[in-house]
């Protein structure tokens, strides 16, 4: 019951300046400020990374494995998502990027989207077999799966219980390696991730026991290493190479990547977490009807907008779509037909592509017991009436309603509200010394001392 969930996002207290920017953008209200530092409530966080985008001092980091871990294995496979290639100028060929990865020590480079052709077939099959649960929601984005678990528990049954492309491809790769007689304990699968949610999905997968992926390397880190190698080489200026994926696979991780190909009834694609939340609210009310498939992505421009992608998301998406146009302009004989799996490989994947149960883990509930929850809810409504509804965040909670919930749950004091303080002071229920003490507790001395402020906030 009291399990603490793993998060790839880490808040560094030594760097945090207590500016509360992260608190104000968190879509699940998972951040509070206490003692002048942002505090993460682990069970509310879905690893979407909105906080990471707005932190002005880089105090939020994304945990990754030490790159040198790859050398613990003799077969070192890089699982490379197509958005990685999209980070580089169009003049740089995919083969140059692969070559650089080999130079860095990988023995194999596998495109994450290799499993997409297989997976898209399975999705169509799944949808036709589960027509009673419409709309079905893609399991592609791990931040969305977690969002639904914590905030929309009644929609959990709508999530398609099929693995994401990276897990299908990992499964296929491990299987092929075994077929070649290479012992699996000598094989390391390293996923190059565009975001924090994918790391959480590897460390603590939903709907399966353990991920097949050995380690995770952040895309921005690898981009710098690869760019360093490529920039030293002489540019040849060849005509663009055809890429190794089908056009469908190439764009699968972009917005509309799935919905354009799931042609059963009405499909819809929505990106950016607040857009998704707005839509799911309406869907949960049954206000939206007649949709069969939903592609939901936490990032604007989907994976091209991942927090670990160094490039501009619009340019990345546009470059990837240009690659599709190039591919489509080729004659059918020149085109890649994708990684067609053998009937045995397909049969093997079909056995393993399904996910287990996905459980809700509501952050909304005030108590497991309804009667107890009723009492708390009444108090929350009473408290909320006393608060100004300004949502200023001075209390260290993102909104007045978040503060009232925290107070009722015994995690905050109503006197943290600066308006309540002023009212109490006027009525001589609180003296200035005490209200200053409370403010120091929330924001630390550095924001309430004249001398500390003179030194200025260190950026």
């Amino acid at each position: 019951m009291n399990k603490v969930f793993y998060h790839a996002l880490k808040f560094r207290e030594d760097l945090c300046i207590g500016c509360s920017h992260c608190m104000n953008v968190c879509p699940t209200e998972a951040v509070r400020v206490w003692h002048g530092k942002a505090q993460l409530h682990a069970n509310r966080c879905i690893d979407c990374g909105e906080c990471y985008r707005v932190c002005p001092v880089g105090a939020i980091t994304v945990e990754q494995d030490d790159f040198d871990n790859i050398y613990h294995y003799t077969t070192r496979i890089a699982l490379l998502p197509s958005v990685f290639t999209g980070q580089f100028p169009a003049s740089i060929q995919p083969s140059e990027i692969r070559q650089a990865l080999f130079e860095l020590g990988f023995t194999h480079v596998v495109e994450v989207e290799e499993g997409v052709e297989f997976l898209s077939e399975q999705i169509l099959k799944y949808i036709s077999e589960h027509s009673d649960r419409k709309p079905l929601i893609s399991s592609f984005c791990p931040a969305i799966v977690r969002l639904i678990q914590v905030k929309f528990p009644t929609l959990v049954d709508h999530i398609i219980r099929l693995k994401a492309p990276v897990d299908v491809t990992a499964l296929h790769t491990i299987n092929s390696i075994k077929e070649k007689g290479i012992p699996s304990e000598q094989t390391g699968l390293f996923y190059i991730t565009p975001c924090a949610a994918k790391i959480a999905a590897v460390r603590e997968p939903v709907g399966e026991q353990q991920s097949l992926i050995t380690g995770v390397i952040n895309m921005n880190y690898l981009y710098n290493r690869v760019w360093k190698i490529i920039s030293k080489q002489k540019r040849q200026g060849n005509r663009p190479e055809p890429c190794a994926l089908t056009t469908k696979s190439l764009c699968w991780s972009l917005t509309h990547g799935e919905s354009d190909h799931v042609k059963i009834g009405k499909s819809l694609a929505i990106d950016e977490i607040n857009n998704v939340i707005e839509f799911l609210e309406k869907l949960e009310n049954d206000e939206i009807k007649g949709i069969d498939f939903l592609e939901l992505r936490a990032c604007d421009e989907s994976c091209a907008g991942g927090i670990l992608c160094p490039g501009n998301r619009f340019l990345t998406a546009s470059k990837m779509r240009e690659a599709v146009l190039r591919q489509e302009s080729l004659s059918p004989s020149e085109r890649v037909n994708g990684m067609l799996f053998t009937p045995e490989q397909t049969a093997f994947l079909q056995q393993h592509v399904h996910l287990g149960a996905i459980h809700p883990r509501s952050i909304m509930k005030l108590d497991d017991n309804v009667a107890e929850a009723m009492v708390k809810m009444k108090r929350i409504y009473e408290l909320r009436r006393l608060l100004p509804q300004v949502d200023c965040g001075i209390c260290g909670a993102p909104t007045c309603s978040a503060l009232s919930e925290d107070v009722v749950q015994g995690q905050a004091d109503i006197r943290q509200c600066i308006f309540v303080q002023r009212i109490m002071e006027q009525n001589e229920k609180l003296d200035t010394a005490e209200s200053v003490r409370i403010m120091r507790e929330i924001w630390s001395n550095s924001k309430l001392d004249k001398n500390s402020l003179k030194e200025g906030t260190k950026f």
Partner: protein, 144 residues
């Protein structure tokens, strides 16, 4: 706990706001998801009926430990034949309302399917009163 909301006839943009609020409360009470869903569907249909047919209305929601009781009162044309209105596909909605995706004639039967108790009474030319009661299933008590 009582909550009161007022509904404006013809304001389709507002339809669903009461359902959203009630849904949030039920989630906070840790009510079973299927009960939340049923309640919200029934309430949303009833809310849309006021918006689509009546001039104005009020919704009074009472949440108790074991059930939720929703009372909707409207000032509007009323329903001449409630039995007929309960039939699937029967609708008196205007073409404009249907254009917006409402008024398919599923409202009352959908409400009935999603409420444990439903009482509808109506006076033609005056208005309609709808009462919905849904019970929260007993949830297993946590062992802690």
């Amino acid at each position: 706990m009582f909550f009161e909301y007022s509904i404006e006839g013809g304001n389709f943009a507002q339809a669903g706001s009461t359902s959203s609020q009630v849904k949030k409360n039920l989630k906070q009470l840790n009510v079973d998801g299927s009960v939340i869903k049923r309640t919200v569907v029934a309430l949303y249909e009833a809310e849309v009926n006021i918006v689509a047919h009546a001039f104005r209305g009020t919704i009074i929601v009472e949440i108790m430990e074991d059930k939720i009781h929703i009372l909707l009162n409207d000032e509007g044309p009323g329903i001449p034949d409630i039995g007929k209105a309960m039939e699937i596909g029967f609708s008196t909605a205007s073409p404009e309302v249907r254009e917006m995706g409402f008024g398919a004639g599923m409202g009352l039967s959908n409400m009935k399917n999603n409420s444990d108790e439903l009482h509808i009474s109506s006076k033609v030319g005056q208005g309609t009163r709808v009462e919905i009661t849904n019970y929260f299933q007993a949830k297993p008590v946590s062992l802690q």
